[in-house]
Symmetry: C2
Subunit: 198 residues, 2 copies
């Protein structure tokens, strides 16, 4: 029966997408091959292009094409305000939803000693260098409100204090324990603009 | 900001998947690039392989690699029982869930005069040829229980009657108005094995 190699392989491959189980993968496979081959080809090509072109910004470590992301490459951004987030998705969310004109630093993780993730794994040395340069006047902590996110925020606020830099935390308008990237834009903007000294 | 070309293009491309809106596409994009590049590459390659290799079986018109699908190519299948379904997804579902050992005919649609879909568009001439050959002893109608599905079943039962062929309809154990491909395997098996003369 039509559980041919290429068909079942595609069903399996779609499972790498978050939230896609066996039933969804099956539905997607038949939809693509039966009704949207053009979309399927475009998806394959977009995946390959993204994999080839997209790496991490050498300055803020968000996902980007080229060495520097658009924010870091933009001379109009205010380098005295540095917003620290856990993931590139959060840079994206904050930049889309808020009026923030500063720059970012992406941890690509959060402190989690039990999982072996410490300051070295998050490259907090890069952040320290940046703080030591004297350019930054305010650090905005936008880590998540999870236990690890809070611990990470605390650690960075200590680094900031040592360098005499003001530290703020985005306001708790976001649902406690929630992940920033899934919060709607309005809530996120409100929370961001209502940030307080930490 | 990181809404670079390749990134936003990938977010857009993922929207071709059924059930994937802008938020899901964004989440999938960051997940793939940040946490599962290997899965992303595998998905791209599986899509291209499927597009290249998979077409329609010349006999039953389900999706398959090569000219004939595994069912039509299998000499052990009972060619006297012909199950008529609307889509390849339903061939897949019935073959996985039931003990059916006959063969299929895939309409790749359903009669819908208002949308300009008549017997010609469904290639019912191919079905008529098959019925006229004398090989088929029973037609099992497994079209959906929608208005169009019922009309299609009725039309095919008339063709069968003209050729003196017994027609059965799978039992209504499936939720009325539901799409076969989303029904769980046990219900589908029950419904299939409890089919009645039509
Ligand atoms: Zn950057
Ligand atoms: Zn076939």
């Amino acid at each position: 029966m039509p559980k041919t190699g290429a068909l079942s392989q595609l069903m399996q491959a779609l499972r790498c997408l978050p939230g896609v189980g066996p039933k969804s993968a099956q539905r997607m496979t038949f939809h693509l091959l039966q009704r949207d081959r053009r979309g399927a080809r475009n998806l394959a090509e977009s995946l390959l292009a993204a994999l080839e072109k997209i790496g991490h910004c050498i300055q803020c470590r968000t996902l980007t094409e080229g060495e520097l992301c658009r924010i870091c490459a933009n001379p109009g951004r205010d380098r005295t305000q540095l917003c620290v987030v856990e993931t590139p998705a959060e840079v994206y969310a904050i930049d889309q939803a808020t009026g923030f004109k500063g720059v970012f630093f992406v941890l690509n993780g959060r402190l989690s000693p039990l999982d072996g993730i410490g300051p070295n794994e998050l490259r907090l040395d890069l952040l320290e260098q940046r703080l030591a340069s004297g350019e930054v006047k305010e650090i905005i902590l936008a880590t998540n409100t999870t236990v690890e996110g809070e611990a990470t925020a605390h650690y960075i606020s200590e680094l900031a204090r040592q360098n005499g830099i003001r530290t703020t935390r985005i306001a708790y308008g976001v649902p406690f324990g929630g992940e920033l990237e899934y919060v709607d834009g309005a809530t996120l903007a409100h929370s961001f603009n209502g940030r307080k000294d930490y």
